[in-house]
């Protein structure tokens, strides 16, 4: 069953049902990639959104990974 159909209370049960073996994780990644690819890139008239979303995601992830260095550039110490 899909994540969108799971109610909030049933989330732990649903998480327990998932397949966390390396093969299962790889399968999940492959499925996610296929879904994104077939929806935004493998079309006749692809738009800008296809790659720009990937690049924006990359920017966000790299910001998160380098946050520990950026913490020292804050203008105020206490928020």
């Amino acid at each position: 069953m899909k994540l969108m159909d799971v109610k909030l209370g049933q989330l732990p049960t649903w998480l327990a049902m998932r397949d966390f073996t390396p093969g299962g994780i790889l399968g999940a990644l492959r499925r996610g990639y296929d879904r994104y690819y077939n929806k935004y890139i493998n079309v006749k008239k692809g738009g800008l959104g296809g790659i720009s979303m990937v690049l924006a995601g990359y920017v966000v992830v790299s910001y998160i990974w380098s946050y520990s260095h950026l913490k020292h550039d804050r203008h105020r110490k206490y928020h």
Binding site: R31, G49, L70, H75
Partner: protein, 252 residues
Amino acid sequence: MFSRLVLRAAPAALRSLPPPVAVSVLHATRPLHTTQQCLAPLPPLPEKGGEVRHGLIPEEFFQFLYPKTGVTGPYMLGTGLLLYLLSKEIYVINHETVAAACILSVIIYGIKKYGPDVAAFADKLNEEKVAKALAVKNEAIKNLETAIEHEKKEQWRVEGRSYLFDAKRNNIAMLLETNYRERLLTVYNEVKKRLDYQVALQNLKHQKEQEHMIQWVEKNVVQSITPQQQKDSIAKCILDLKALSKSAQAAV
């Protein structure tokens, strides 16, 4: 989707079995065009991709929030989120922010100005590719159709076989007839020659016998004329002549 997983799992499982069993089992487990999911002919590509607003956020997000918050919901969410990140300095403003702002503005300006042209160019390239493939397909179809035409013509020609064979049969019959008559003529000629020979032989014999007999009779007659008989006959002839001349003179 699950059949694809099955397809991937089946060879891995079968590799453990000994080869002949694997081959026979593979024939049974490989789903040919019997399942619903058939890979050929491929469905055509969708025309447009998923809708993305402002190039960054999929349209589904806006639709997801629309029932509860209306049209401005996601924008309010975005503004609130941004203010929260700035005020708590989860997003730190430093030199990189300025650089990012400059880069983004240049990129957005470039996209807005040259976007449609690039899109049209890419579409043209795609068009050409598809047209080439279509041309190849149509060419192949045309060739096959002409081949079918030729085949049908050959089949029609085959129907005329019986006439061909009748003509050939007639030819052969005529040849046989001619040959037979020639031989008949030869036989007739040969037989006639032999009979002519026999006839000529008989004629010759007859002729020879006659000649021989005449000669023999003449010879004997001549021999039998004695000198006395000769004188007597001559005297008689003279007397006869005198008588005749007298009668002739009398007649005149």
